[in-house]
């Protein structure tokens, strides 16, 4: 039977997979009895879990980027930023970093105290991109099945009307992760087991339930928010989970003038909604354009040196684990987007340095000395960048 979930899932379940006749007379199996929702099919039909890999290779996916692609990229990015800034006030740098992650095709972890507009930012982003948005409020009793979905037994009437008897079927009830933009709100309030339910989806863009692996819709972004770990009732995210976030963006408290603007725009009768500026396909194309940005060897070498410098061999006093190769990928991908958004066709060392903070801060694990001395990853990155500048 069709479901009507809170998250706007299709009423006709496209994931029904097994037919179990109630009477047991007809043993004929059917693949799917229900018709999938067209909109949902459109999202997932052409963009499977491999879509991002296609985007990584523009020759295969979308062809060689042209100046028109660049122009389109700029226009969409410009509009998107304007839409976000109009609604999310006083968080310009956060918006810029969010766009970096968005066009780099990566997930974002937003950290900040409650009430700073993290959820608003993510919701506005989904509105501006005309993408399916799902919000998961992480709580300590949240289970993994609540995220990825589960298989249930449902009664179903033969749609052809050949048989009057209803049949019971196993039907997969997709979880909220089956959306383009997933807001994992207060992700660190759930247990690590539930937090890890996002791992496969974030890395492989697929979800495995039972013996089936199902692709997630493309584009797929997880925008997680978390409260500072010092707050009560939080579970620190595992390193493996953290590593899958492309960027970790720190949401700071707005300034006084921004607070005044927030009051003017929010405490009133009008509620602002972002206008759509791009579709999912357009976003995938822009991701592929960004990935084609040229990058010189010396810039890549600098990124490698920067990454290696985060390891205990270099800053052994305070670091337990350094950044992983995913950190290097994050540096390069984000720097490409930043260069493009800065009006350049090449990645510079400055781009690498600028994105080093959001790309590496959650990948550097401090040891006891670092924690005891109140050292922050940002301070370490500062030191490393300074040392590399001296070496150069």
């Amino acid at each position: 039977m069709a479901n009507s979930g809170e998250n706007g899932f299709p009423e006709v379940n496209p994931y029904a997979e097994e037919i179990v006749p109630l009477s047991g007379h007809n043993k004929t199996s059917e693949a799917t009895l229900s018709s999938p929702n067209e909109t949902e099919v459109d999202i997932t039909k052409n963009t499977t879990g491999r879509a991002l890999s296609h985007a990584a290779n523009p020759q295969r996916g979308h062809g060689e980027p042209t100046q028109a692609d660049i122009t389109e990229f700029i226009e969409i990015a410009q509009k998107l930023e304007q839409e976000l800034r109009a609604i999310v006030i006083g968080q310009d740098s956060i918006i810029r970093e969010l766009l970096h992650a968005l066009f780099a095709g990566g997930h974002v972890l937003l950290e900040g105290v409650p009430g700073l507009g993290k959820t608003l930012l993510v919701r506005t982003l989904s509105d501006a991109l005309s993408l399916k948005f799902a919000r998961i409020q992480f709580t300590p009793d949240l289970m993994p099945a609540d995220i990825v979905g589960t298989t249930i037994v449902a009664e179903q009437v033969d749609p052809n009307g050949a048989s009057p008897a209803t049949r019971r079927v196993f039907s997969f009830q997709p979880g909220p992760i089956f959306a383009n933009i997933v807001l994992a709100d207060e992700i660190n309030r759930a247990t690590p087991k539930t937090q890890s339910a996002l791992l496969e989806g974030m890395q492989e863009h697929t979800v495995s339930v039972g013996d089936r692996t199902r692709p997630l819709p493309q584009p797929f972004f997880v925008l997680a928010t978390q409260n500072p770990l010092e707050m009560e009732g939080t579970y620190p995210l595992p390193e493996a989970q953290l590593d899958r976030f492309l960027l970790k963006i720190m949401v700071n408290f707005p300034k006084a003038e921004d607070l005044m603007r927030i009051l003017d725009t929010t405490v009133g009768t009008q509620s602002l909604r972002a206008s759509p500026v791009a579709t999912g396909d357009q976003l995938l194309h822009l991701i592929s354009v960004a990935r084609a940005m040229p990058i010189a060897t010396h810039v890549k070498e600098y990124a490698v040196r920067l990454l290696l410098a985060t390891h205990p061999e270099q800053v052994h006093r305070y670091v337990r684990y350094g950044a992983s190769p995913r950190g290097l990928q994050a540096l390069i991908m984000t720097a490409r987007v930043r260069a493009l958004l800065s009006g350049r066709y090449n990645v510079s060392l400055e781009d690498i340095r600028a994105v080093a903070y959001p790309a590496l801060r959650h990948r550097i694990v401090l040891n006891f000395d670092g924690l005891a001395d109140g050292i922050t990853p940002e301070q370490l990155i500062d030191t490393i960048i300074g040392e590399l500048a001296t070496e150069a």
Binding site: E75, E81, M293, P294, H298, A339, G343, V347, S348
Partner: protein, 545 residues
């Protein structure tokens, strides 16, 4: 609200640019960068050269460094040349030019990336369209600046200031008098003197080598000592050692030479001389001639005299033979310290008394052998004395500029006559204006020459210590010294002498006192009666008793 990107990125691209366009655009920048690099490196080289020259000249003010100026000039010139060479050698490549342009113009690695992606093979991994766009963007940014503006050929204020300061310091170091100049002059003077003295020692060494009258072993030892001394003096000359070290070397060598001298040989010589003098008082002509031959150590005359004596012995009466025998016996008693001579004289005396021609012949041969031995001793002693004297002369000459010129020159004049006995030596001391006389006169007899006019006999190890006058005049005065005090080669005057340093005291005033002191000392000592007699006779002869 800040915008995301500049408008130029969406501007239409006018035309496609290839790698040649990139090279063409970078070439003037590269040239300008090269010029700037040349200028900077040259200036750094000049500054480095000036600083190094200053340091060298400064060091030359702390340590005596004769060639400091040449080093300063050489380094001062070499440094800019090396810097210029390095600038040419490390001239900027296109890649480095692109990198420098990126940094100087804040192009955010546009030029570096464009240069790297200029070749198709390099850009194969990337989109060629994007590479083209990137190249166009980079050149567009580059065109906004001029090479001469971005890389100006002007000097930085700090560089000019450093250059001026270094030049001023160098000028001061050149113009201000160097306190080490006087030391260097002294060193050069010492070196010249050392060279001269080395030459003189070498000359003396060759003279000794050429002599055939001394044993080969002794000649070899002397040669070795002098050769070693030359080597040491050469080393000190080349390494700017002090004069004191050279003087010490000379003194050491002199001591070694003195150690080669045989004290017994001296006593033998003296005994022969005493015996000869005793025979000279004889009434017999042959014995007088024999005495003169023995005193002069003239072996040829001695042989002739002995032959005459042998031929005339049989013609003499027994009383005459007894008289001759008695005189020979007396002479033999005078030659106590020369046993061979004493024995030969006694044998001759007995043979004459007995009128035994055969014994007379045998005694003559023994006497001649003893005389020959004494002659050999005299030659060795003379050679050693000459060598030692030459070293003393070298020491005096070496000290010449700092010593009293009167004392030194006179000492030199005294010592030039090697063949004259009774050679004196004097060494003035600079601290005393009058030139305090220092050193003992050293007299010796040269074999084959006339009898030593110097009455004093400088005894090796026994130090004929005499205080001469401060002007170093050689008065041929010998006064007895203390036994075992000083050396024959170099002795010092001290307070034990009755003569005050620098005072002129005549011989007659001191000889009586010294003689009495010698008599008293020899009577109180536990030496053999013969030796006592020898000393008594010696001082008696000095007083003309």
């Amino acid at each position: 609200m800040a915008t995301l990107m500049s408008s130029r990125i969406v501007a239409p691209m006018p035309k496609l640019l290839d790698s040649e366009d990139l090279i063409r655009s970078l070439r003037p920048w590269r040239k300008q960068l090269f010029r700037q690099q040349m200028l900077h490196w040259l200036l750094r080289g000049v500054i480095t050269g000036l600083v190094v020259a200053c340091l060298v000249l400064l060091a030359a003010r702390i340590f005596p460094w004769a060639t400091a100026v040449y080093w300063a000039v050489g380094l001062g010139i070499t440094s800019p040349l090396l810097a210029l060479g390095a600038a040419i050698w490390y001239r900027p490549s296109f890649a480095r030019t692109a990198s420098v342009i990126d940094k100087r113009l804040a192009l955010h690695d546009r030029m570096s990336t464009a240069w790297e992606l200029r070749e198709p093979s390099k850009g194969a991994q990337q989109s060629s369209a994007l590479a083209e766009l990137q190249r166009h963007d980079a050149l567009e940014q580059l065109a906004k600046s001029k090479p001469a503006t971005a890389f100006p050929l002007r000097l930085q204020r700090s560089t000019v200031l450093t250059l001026v300061c270094a030049t001023l310091v160098l000028a001061l170091l050149i113009l201000l008098p160097n306190p080490m100049t006087a030391i260097l002059k002294q060193q050069a003077d010492l070196q010249a003197r050392l060279t001269r003295q080395i030459a003189s020692i070498e000359k003396k060494r060759r003279q000794i080598d050429a002599q055939s009258t001394i044993p080969a072993k002794e000649k070899q030892l002397i040669d070795q000592i002098l050769s070693d001394l030359e080597s040491q003096l050469n080393y000190e000359s080349q390494n700017a050692k002090s004069e004191a070290e050279a003087q010490q070397d000379l003194a050491d060598a002199q001591t070694k030479l003195d150690q080669l001298r045989n004290p017994q040989a001296v006593t033998r010589i003296q005994s022969q001389s005493t015996a000869g003098q005793s025979l000279q008082h004889s009434s017999d002509a042959n014995l007088q001639a024999m005495g003169q031959a023995l005193a002069n150590n003239d072996t040829k005359s001695l042989a002739q005299v002995l032959q005459n004596l042998a031929s005339q012995a049989s013609k003499l009466s027994q009383a005459q033979r007894d008289q001759l025998g008695q005189e020979l016996e007396n002479a033999a008693n005078q030659a106590n310290l020369n046993p061979d001579l004493k024995s030969a004289l006694r044998q001759l005396a007995q043979a004459l008394t007995e009128n035994n021609a055969k014994e007379i012949a045998n005694a003559s041969q023994s006497l001649q052998a003893a005389a020959n031995q004494t002659a050999a001793d005299r030659n060795s002693e003379a050679t050693l004395a000459q060598a030692s004297q030459s070293l003393q002369n070298a020491a005096n000459n070496l000290a010449a500029p700092t010593d009293n010129p009167n004392g030194t020159s006179q000492g030199q004049q005294q010592n030039q006559g090697q063949q004259e006995p009774g050679q004196g030596q004097g060494k003035g001391q600079p601290q005393q204006g009058r030139g305090k006389g220092q050193g003992g006169q050293q007299g010796q007899r040269d074999p084959g020459q006339e009898e030593g006019r110097g009455q004093g006999q400088g005894q090796p190890k026994q130090g004929g210590n005499s205080g001469t006058n401060g002007q170093g005049k050689n008065e041929q005065v010998y006064v007895p010294g203390q036994i075992n005090q000083g050396s024959g080669a170099q002795s010092t005057d001290n307070n034990s002498s009755a003569v005050q340093s620098g005072d002129q005291v005549s011989y007659s005033q001191v000889i009586a006192q010294y003689s009495q002191m010698a008599h008293d000392a020899i009577d109180n000592s536990s030496i053999s009666p013969d030796d006592k007699d020898l000393v008594h006779d010696y001082f008696n002869s000095l007083e003309g008793r």
